[in-house]
Symmetry: C3
Subunit: 357 residues, 3 copies
């Protein structure tokens, strides 16, 4: 692996990504051959906010590789939240275990953790920022269900403004050949400008369609997400619009026969329960692909890992990140680290937020 | 197994029950021979209400078979309770794991879960409804301590009206030869009529005795349970009556020398601590039998299991179950399923409650 | 082992302690040779108050020996706290598992647990009373970092009055040759008289120095602990004094070049983050030694263990322990057990508190 840690899916090169996908498929084909490859290894699942499904997926993945798991699922019940810095917790846990999956409500927390961990760190979600193993799951699902990652028309429906899994999937799929995108949402909840910039730079075609029904006939893949009620301009607006973005059997009659419907789950009411019985619904099998994807990722990251002695000291900037949800707002000892982003702009290395000098 | 899932102990045929009991005994005799039979298998313990003892018994059972365990112990700390349907959770977890033990405060929840699970489901308690592995524990204890399941006089003491383990034990033991029952409680807290109907149909003798002391000399087995203070008609009634149903060393002087005292635990004050040192007290060793009983059950259920692809669609009735504690009250998408119960009565397939058309 | 249970580090003889230290070193040198020595064994971690770090250390230790773990991390989420006695819980869990690590807020709780457990019990902290595996960790750290347990000048800084790890470390190190102690704290927070008695009896030299800077040049080892704000006489006193007991790079300039800095962790602000990058800082590697120390302890305790059938009855005194934090205050059924402590004094066998007859 070019990087020890996987904080962003971009930490994995395209070649590495294809190898992980292929490995996931080999594990799926003969799981018993991989049932002891992580024997004696321990995964820590450090969940600073509860996410039972993600945690169960990681645990199952490690157990099915013959490894073991420790961790916590809610710092409210743990002594970890009481006055101990993220750095100290990670330094200790990185000494106990072989690999760490961290979930945290603050943006950039996984990056911060990786700076102090002797063990490789996987970002299992840092606030609204990144969630690379969800995107890996989506990509493994597409590769298996479509047989390719090229030449697809991918619809994304729901809250495209705030959906981190949507942004990450678009970024990743734009690297493959000849994919196009249909963005299905209200004008207020469309993708941020930086995603459109990525699409434009990569030469991917895309169009925006404000309702799901009209988009249906175009799609090879439909990636559903939820629009939270509070995202709408008003309660009236919500009542008027909500049905437009709900997938039901009626809308499915306009879809291609080989459409694949994905959803990062949990679903609330944006897909009607009836749709589950349609063979195009892939959102449950998607979670099984996710387990194999995580198995392949853990295996790959544990190969020849360099457990550099910690702690290591980093340079610090004299400017502080302005993002109120950035991990540097709570963990004051963290060195202020930025990339230059052109002009007077700095890009926070933790949360990717832009700060003016 | 005639049934894939074990929701009620009635899901197990009498022959299967005897095989599970015999298997439990073989495991007890040489546990090392069984220490890897579930290697590579994963049990999910989905506890929608805390029950530390039951969960520890299931976990220990699976670990002692060489398998592994994931799960949660309190949905308040998990994201599972937040807006995700039981169906979706079970569909996903049934895809990750090989067998599921579910505990839930709503009656019929385990039945509902089993309808959507690719993995076999064990009911680890659904509200006040059923708790088949407790009864399996009781039966394995009796078989080992008595050498038979026939020809016993079984006393049941405490709250016989609301005690699900009492009802289930009576039903099960009434299938064996020549067992009789002594029901020891206040008149208000005696067994429901349907249990008396079962006793009458099976030809089992039974008598009701309103205090423990008078019953003692008759008993081969005493199954103690708790009467909760709030079950008595009044505080005065409680103060007057409570001692009558408490087992102490004095009452034990009236008992047979080979009496076996059982209790589903936790005990509060219905058995005095002094009784623990009497060799007739079997309620602690009963929990060890429970572990072996669960080992035998898990092993048996995992043999040749059919992992039917899910989800499957069920017919739905136009009548809704009236039981306010039924799982169908909360999980509205569940198909309304009933057995005909004679006349205008329907028997809810989830909670076994009777509903008038 | 001379004792089945390890409640106090004094339960381990000096010879046994040296064997455990040597075993920890052998495991550290070739962990793969020990990766299956506890295969098929189960550790229960019963944490009646959360202590994530200690629990993770025990779990990792058992998993790295090839064993498995069950338990709970917070009785608020468990049914254990609801009306079940410690005795009943331990009796049951001692029947399920092979070894128990218990953490409890009440003093003497681990001792009480050991009286009813068929499985050997490790005290993982009982209120402010004892925490033997922390001291074992400290001793393994010193032995590895210094190559000996003799001839050291050991500074102890912070709240020496209430710090159980401080008391236990002094007691243990006073048994070795030619160690001297520097006690660094405010006069109000110095060690209790009984610790000074131990030092005097063992012939160890010690001095009291009221600030860290003056003590620095003398020390081979510095054991840092926290002084809680509320321990100071007043807020003004706190503001005036706090810096005196904080370790920073400036104070380190007065230290020997081979000083070893230890801390039981979690650290709050008594060691500045900058000190982490000094090679004399050993408090993170100390947690890794702690994992190996617990591995060696578990291995040793599981060898030839006698699983005496429980429950067993103990004599009871007619006097009750006066310590409001003693486990006998809550668990009323516990027999009142004392050692004679000279004159009219009795020493509670649970919490070691002195009670006048």
């Amino acid at each position: 692996m070019k990087n020890k840690h996987v904080i962003d899916l971009e930490d994995i090169s395209r070649e590495e990504l294809m190898e992980i996908i292929e490995l996931a498929n080999r594990i799926m084909a003969s799981p018993e051959e991989y049932s002891e490859v992580c024997k004696g290894k321990i995964l820590a699942t450090l969940f600073y906010e509860p996410s039972t499904r993600t945690q169960m997926s990681f645990k199952t993945a490690m157990l099915r590789l013959g490894g073991n798991v420790i961790g916590f699922d809610n710092p409210q019940n743990s002594s970890v939240s009481k006055g101990e810095s993220l750095k100290d917790t990670i330094t200790v846990v990185g000494g106990y275990t072989d690999i760490i999956a961290i979930r945290h409500p603050s943006e950039g927390a996984a990056k911060a953790a990786s700076m102090y961990s002797a063990a490789p760190v996987i970002n299992a979600g840092d606030g609204g920022h990144l969630h690379p193993t969800q995107t890996l799951t989506d990509v493994v699902t597409l590769y298996n269900e479509k047989g390719t990652l090229d030449n697809m028309c991918i619809g994304l429906c729901g809250d495209l403004k705030n959906g981190r899994t949507v942004h990450s999937l678009i970024k990743t799929m734009s690297h493959f050949e000849n994919n196009s995108f249909v963005l299905i949402s209200t004008p207020e909840l469309t993708v941020p400008q930086y995603i459109k910039d990525i699409l434009n730079r990569s030469g991917c075609k895309y169009q925006e369609i404000p309702n799901l029904k009209d988009a249906m006939p175009l799609l090879d893949v439909l990636y559903m997400t939820r629009i939270q009620r509070e995202r709408f301009a008003s309660e009236e607006e919500y009542e008027k619009q909500k049905g437009i973005f709900v997938l039901d059997r009626e809308k499915l009659t306009y879809a291609k026969s080989d459409l694949k419907i994905l959803h990062p789950l949990p679903r609330v009411d944006e897909i009607e329960e009836d749709v589950d019985y349609d063979s195009r619904a892939k959102y449950f099998i998607q979670t099984v692909y996710g387990m194999y994807a995580r198995m392949a990722l853990i295996m790959t990251m544990l190969k020849d890992v360099d457990r550099t002695p910690m702690p290591r000291k980093f340079d610090t900037h004299n400017v502080r990140c302005k993002n109120p949800r950035c991990i540097t707002q709570q963990e004051k000892y963290l060195p202020k680290r930025f990339h230059k982003a052109g002009g007077d702009m700095l890009l926070c290395r933790y949360c990717d937020d832009r700060t003016l000098i």
